[in-house]
């Protein structure tokens, strides 16, 4: 390691994401100690007793201020408080000790899990907005955030606020004070009332709302990627004509407690390419959508565990292709597949309006509760989607091996011309693809199933 010049030692040191590791390097080597002042970021984890890689609550202030004074230029500060309670080191006086010192150079600030009791004395957003004019990235995770006396932070492009209570019910201050946001993540925020995100430059938004009976509005002319997670089916209005990727997830089980309470309205999507719908019964969500011709990739997820009750959702492939006529890639999770099976026409055949030529690939997660029913659904799907070239089916790990094998053989025997990919899935487990398959199952087939 002696041959490495100081600039490269600095490259290595700057890739450590914990200041505790940097501190160990300083003690290990004089060369590291010499380059240390040129580091530009501080990343401290603070826990009650200062175990492995963290600084203890009692030493935190001293260590942190020492780092601030030793580094020549501080561009990035990341403090994570782990289970720190009570009026700890984080009060207004402490923040005023260092924030003004780094205000010119600070580009990125991340403070997480600020403890609750000290917050009544600390309006962190106000202080940040007062001092940090060059801040580009801000990440705040705290139980409670106030927006009183907020100054604009014009250079801010990325904002993540994770808070149970944000005292800006309509998000007016947010819209006003951060006009140049490109990326906004609002997570776990409650107590909002008909909030509206109105940002001209916003490109990526992740909005996770845990309110009942409130409407959500987004007016974002340049938005490209959007993820909305909401607890129950609230009225959502989106004006985002450039939107390309949209993931809508509706959590609650009782979707239609108040029929008509939720309505999805949107200004026409000119560019929507990928759409991911996740809901208790995805059929209901689907029925809210207008026809969108630009969608190429569609992902359907359903959380229901009792698919028999799904009949009301009227989820059918015909409906899917009617709303999204140009879908070329379809992914269906196990809940959505069960919902499709439950809504299957009693005669056992689902009639698509003419055969579908547009669908090229399909990926489905199967439970195989009733293999023959699932097989007949696969038949109706594959026989009518004549454009398909790749079919990926993953079977739940709990299904008996012989059943899986026989299901696989039946499928591949019936459609030998397709490229098949087989896999195993389970909750909380990464999908595993089966990479080799007994060719002997199909002695007549000359195709090698390279998976």
């Amino acid at each position: 390691m002696d041959k490495l010049p100081e600039s490269l030692l600095l490259e290595i040191l700057s890739r450590l994401d914990n200041s505790a590791d940097v501190a160990c390097c300083r003690v290990a080597s004089k060369a590291f100690n010499n380059v240390f002042p040129d580091l530009r970021s501080i990343s401290l984890l603070c826990s009650r007793f200062g175990t492995s890689g963290s600084v203890s609550w009692s030493c935190f202030k001293k260590v942190f201020l020492d780092l601030i004074s030793k580094l020549r230029v501080v561009e990035s500060v990341c403090i994570r408080l782990h289970r720190v309670v009570g009026v700890g080191p984080f009060d207004e006086d402490f923040v005023k000790e260092w924030l003004p010192r780094v205000s010119q150079t600070l580009k990125s600030l991340s403070l997480s899990d600020l403890p609750f009791p000290c917050l009544s004395q600390l309006n962190i957003l106000h202080l940040i907005s007062k001092y940090c004019h060059n801040l580009a990235e801000l990440n705040l995770r705290s139980a409670w955030l106030s927006v009183s006396n907020l100054n604009p932070i014009p250079m801010l492009t990325t904002l993540t606020l994770e808070s149970r209570i944000l005292q800006d019910p309509h998000l007016n201050q947010l819209n006003k004070c951060f006009p140049n946001l490109r990326v906004l993540n609002l997570i776990c925020v409650r107590e909002l009332q008909d909030p509206k995100i109105h940002h001209f430059n916003l490109q990526t938004c992740h909005w996770s709302v845990y309110n009942h009976h409130t409407s959500l509005t987004l007016i974002t002319p340049n938005l490209i990627t959007l993820k909305i997670e909401c607890l129950c089916y609230t009225a959502i209005h989106i004006e985002a004509p450039m939107l390309s990727h949209f993931h809508l997830s509706v959590d609650g089980p009782k979707v239609y407690e108040h029929p008509g309470a939720g309505a999805f309205t949107a200004q026409k999507f000119e560019n929507l390419k990928t759409l991911w719908l996740d809901s208790f019964y995805v059929g209901f969500l689907l029925s809210e959508f207008p026809t969108i011709k630009t969608v190429e990739t569609l992902i359907l997820g359903s959380r229901n565990k009792a698919p028999r009750d799904a009949r009301d959702s009227k989820l059918t492939l015909g409906e899917v292709f009617r709303v999204f006529p140009n879908v070329s890639s379809l992914r269906i999770n196990s809940g959505a597949w069960s919902e499709l099976e439950a809504c299957l026409d009693p005669q056992g055949w689902e009639i698509l309006d003419g055969s579908n030529k547009g669908l090229k690939t399909i990926c489905a997660y199967l439970m195989l509760v009733d293999p023959s029913l699932t097989f007949s659904y696969v038949v109706c799907l594959l026989d009518q989607c004549v454009g398909l070239s790749v079919v990926s089916l993953l079977i739940h790990s709990g299904v008996d091996g012989t059943q899986c094998k026989s299901f696989r053989s039946k499928c591949m025997a019936r459609w030998p011309g397709l490229k098949w990919r087989w896999g195993i899935w389970d909750e909380g487990m990464k999908d595993t693809w089966i990479t080799d398959l007994q060719i002997t199952e199909h002695p007549k087939s000359s195709k090698k199933f390279r998976l």
């Binding site: 390691m1 290595i12 890739r15 914990n18 505790a20 590791d21 160990c24 390097c25 080597s29 260590v63």
Partner: protein
């Protein structure tokens, strides 16, 4: 060099062994090929696997790769990122003694210097 219209000239690279150069070329080739692959998702995973195997080398080779990728005439940022991050990952969670052992670092502090730097940073490993 290529911009100067010297695409066919020999480029002198002192202090870099041919073994290191061939590894660098292997890296560049793989990344260029991967960029041409139309299936973005498998290309990404494939590249990730390649990168993690690529840095499974002894420490001396790793440092030589760091030096080579940073060299002005080569300046391959992604390789620099990969190799420096690998070195950083080797440091994570270690005590100062362990770091010295991992990288064969000679202790060149004077006793006074060592005492002071230890005191200042004791919070991190005691």
């Amino acid at each position: 060099m290529i911009e100067d219209d010297y695409a066919n000239t020999t480029v002198p690279l002192p202090n870099v062994t041919s073994m290191i150069i061939s590894k660098v070329i292997e890296y560049c080739k793989k990344h260029v090929e991967s960029a041409k692959n139309e299936d973005k998702k498998t290309a990404e995973e494939d590249l990730k696997n390649f990168d993690s195997e690529f840095v499974k080398v002894d420490k001396d080779t790793l440092f030589d790769l760091i030096l080579a990728s940073a060299a002005n005439y080569l300046n391959i940022k992604s390789l620099l990122d990969l190799t420096c991050q690998t070195a950083a990952d080797m440091i994570k969670g270690k005590t100062p003694e362990e770091v010295r052992k991992t990288f064969n670092i000679k202790n060149d502090f004077t006793p006074e210097e060592e005492a002071e730097v230890r005191r200042e940073n004791a919070w991190a490993f005691e």
